[in-house]
């Protein structure tokens, strides 16, 4: 049935998640580090090839397709899982760790899946495990946000499933390979919609800031890495060179920037910048050249590190002070200077400062845009870079650690550096962000295609520094304009948040009235005649049918009494004698024949 056993990295996490609640608390911390370390080691040791093929009914499930593309995504997911677990190491509730590990297992399973069915299976596992990272925050808002997240992802999953079935019935193959992007069938469009939803491409994006802003302090560190980047992997695998993705990606890069200006919650701001950064990747997939695909993988790799670091920094502020809004924070550099430094490093990395990780990855996609003669895409992506530095590099650090001190007395007193494991995770992330930025072969040698790309040219450094530093000038000149406002910005989740209320009002008002009216009509015209008919039937039943039946029963009873008087003894005795006699007769007949 199966080929030789191949240890799937996700299996280590799933087993770990199952065993974790049984581990005595004394051994829990080492165990929490052991499982992601083993998973990461397993991911590191994978050799290219196709493994874990299992025949199931008419399908061949392929659990382990290891190639250049899946390896680079698998590697960074494993690394992120290890550092994310380290960050939340002091969390006592084991279910939180288990949920996070199952979520990562879903992501790894989808990345190494070689067929659509396996992909779908792990895709759904991701959605249903990650929602707990939101629910475990245990605020009423988190519960609602979690349900919205789940509903949206269920819709996306259904689109994906419908697309997979349609497409595979058409082609007769369940293998997960690139779609024919010049001629997409209906199934492929549905699959694309499912992928784009998980990549948070507008208008299918509103679930992301909604849920990630409501996650637990360490849950959002996991959330920010896995769902969108797994979708980027799936797009890379399925739709490279699909032209439509370039304008979608560029629009998304700018969309996130606009909402980040308006946002007052630091973690929701970071969430909008995920949309913006994933926009670069989606656009890169659309360009589809070797340089672009390399850029997508490099940027996903770098992004997971610096975005994880940024969510760790803001998560640390949330964990220590209980606040994440700029209007409740400010001036914290005296209380949490190291957290400030780590977050700043994340901010400089996402802004693509020279020597930081974003610099060596983002430029590949922009360069690929210019080389594909998509000048508008190149310029607009550079404009999005302006917005990135403006918010993540400047606004977040400034309004949390400097700026006006909006903290209440209580917040100020609670604020201090987070526990050692959180500091260690942030320090490790910071070192990685700088290492990836300084030593390019570490990242470039893992990319799917060989590359001679060199980001450290005089022109590129000059271009980047000019863009970024003059953005800073604009920031400080317009600082008053950027003062945070305690507002929420309406996004497309309005349609299912207020839209649902509207549906309810319609249901309570006109629909309820209509229902009552129909009910009344039914009672008058249907129910009452029916009751009358039923009463008539009852009388007929009572007088005629019952009479007949009773009469029959009486006559049967009378006959029984007469029979009884005819019988000598008990019926069983007579029957036994009769059967014995019959048996003797049969035996005699058989013997004589």
């Amino acid at each position: 049935m199966t080929s030789e056993f191949w240890l799937h990295p996700a299996l280590i996490l799933l087993a770990g998640a199952a065993v974790l609640p049984l581990v005595p608390s004394a051994f829990r911390r080492p165990f929490l580090l052991l499982i992601p370390t083993l998973t990461f080691a397993r991911l590191w040791s994978l050799v290219p090839g196709t493994f874990g093929e299992i025949r199931f009914l008419d399908w061949t499930l392929v659990f382990g397709r290891v190639d250049a593309l899946s390896s680079v995504f698998g590697y960074i997911m494993g690394l992120m899982c290890l550092l994310g677990t380290l960050y939340g190491l002091h969390v006592k509730e084991t279910a939180q760790h288990s949920a996070a590990w199952i979520y990562v297992a879903g992501s790894l399973g989808a990345i190494f899946a070689g067929d659509f069915l396996t992909l779908f299976l792990f895709w759904e596992l991701m959605a249903f495990s990650s929602v707990f990272l939101v629910w475990f925050r245990r605020r009423p808002e988190s519960l609602a946000a979690g349900f919205r997240y789940l509903l949206v992802h269920t819709a996306g999953g259904l689109s994906l499933l419908a697309g997979l079935v349609l497409h595979s019935n058409g082609t007769g193959s369940w293998t997960f390979d690139a779609f024919d992007v010049s001629n997409l069938d209906a199934g492929a469009w549905l699959v694309l919609a499912g992928f784009l939803l998980n990549a948070a491409v507008p208008p299918l994006h509103a679930w992301l800031p909604d849920a990630y802003g409501e996650g637990t302090f360490n849950g959002s560190v996991f959330l920010c890495a896995f769902t969108t980047k797994t979708a980027v992997y799936a797009l890379c695998r399925g739709f490279p060179g699909l032209d439509l993705l370039v304008p979608l990606g560029v629009a998304m890069a700018l969309y996130g920037v606009v909402y980040a200006v308006l946002e007052n919650d630091s973690r929701r701001l970071l969430a909008y910048h995920i949309i913006s950064q994933v926009g670069y990747m989606v656009a890169g997939v659309g360009m589809g050249t070797e340089l672009a695909i390399n850029g997508v993988c490099a940027h996903a790799f770098a992004h997971i590190l610096y975005k994880g670091l940024l969510f760790m920094g803001c998560g640390a502020v949330l964990h220590m002070t209980g606040k994440s809004k700029f209007t409740d924070l400010g001036g914290l550099y005296q209380r949490m200077p190291w957290t400030f430094l780590f977050t700043l490093i994340g901010g400089l990395s996402i802004s693509a400062f020279p020597l930081f990780s974003g610099f060596v990855s983002k430029a590949m996609i922009v360069q690929a845009g210019f080389e594909s003669h998509l000048l508008w895409a190149g310029f607009l992506l550079n404009l999005a870079s302006v917005g990135t530095f403006l918010h993540t590099g400047l606004k977040v650090p400034y309004f949390i650690w400097f700026g006006r001190r909006n903290c209440s007395e209580e917040t100020w007193n609670r604020a201090s550096e987070p526990p050692g494991n959180m500091m260690a995770a942030m320090a490790a992330m910071s070192v990685l962000c700088i290492f990836v930025g300084c030593y390019t072969p570490f990242l470039y040698n893992r990319l799917p295609y060989r590359t001679e790309y060199d980001p450290y040219t005089g022109y590129h450094i000059s271009e980047t520094l000019q863009i970024l530093l003059f953005t800073a000038v604009g920031f400080f000149l317009l600082l008053k304009k950027l003062e945070p406002e305690a507002k929420v910005s309406l996004d497309l989740d309005w349609f299912y948040r207020r839209g649902a209320g509207l549906v309810m009002r319609v249901a309570r008002g006109p629909l309820q009235t209509l229902d009552t009216w129909v009910g009344e009509l039914y009672r008058r015209s249907g129910l009452e005649p029916l009751m009358r008919a039923a009463r008539g039937m009852g009388r007929f039943d009572h007088r005629i049918i019952d009479g007949a039946v009773d009469g029959l029963a009486a006559s049967v009873r009378g006959m029984g009494g007469r029979l009884r008087s005819m019988q000598r003894g008990s019926l069983q005795e007579s029957l036994t004698l009769a059967f014995l006699a019959a048996a003797v007769v049969v035996a005699v007949v058989l013997l004589t024949l």
Binding site: F340, N382, L383, V386, S462, Q466, L469, G474, F475, V488
Partner: protein
């Protein structure tokens, strides 16, 4: 705690820090105009980049101002609501 002392040190000399930053900004634009340092041929994608020193500086500054003003205008056009908007 050395880090905190360093931040305080910089904040105590804010004027000097700003002057140094302005010097760096000016130097960036000047250096961009020196062909020996910044090879534009083969790297610049369009005519303006190649022939306008400090093009990207202007791009960064104008881009930043446009993003802030346009986004705020969008936000104040009715998109930004009270925080309890969804609780009603």
């Amino acid at each position: 705690m050395k880090l905190l002392a360093f931040i305080e040190f910089l904040r105590g000399r804010l004027r000097t820090v700003i002057r140094i930053c302005l010097g760096v900004l000016a130097a960036l634009v000047v250096l961009d105009a020196i062909p020996g340092l910044v090879h534009k041929e083969g790297h610049a994608h369009t005519w303006v980049e190649a022939h306008l020193p400090g093009f990207w500086a202007a791009f960064g500054f104008v881009g930043c101002v446009v993003i802030i003003l346009a986004s705020k205008a969008y936000g104040h056009s009715g998109v930004m609501k009270r925080e309890d908007y969804y609780d009603e």
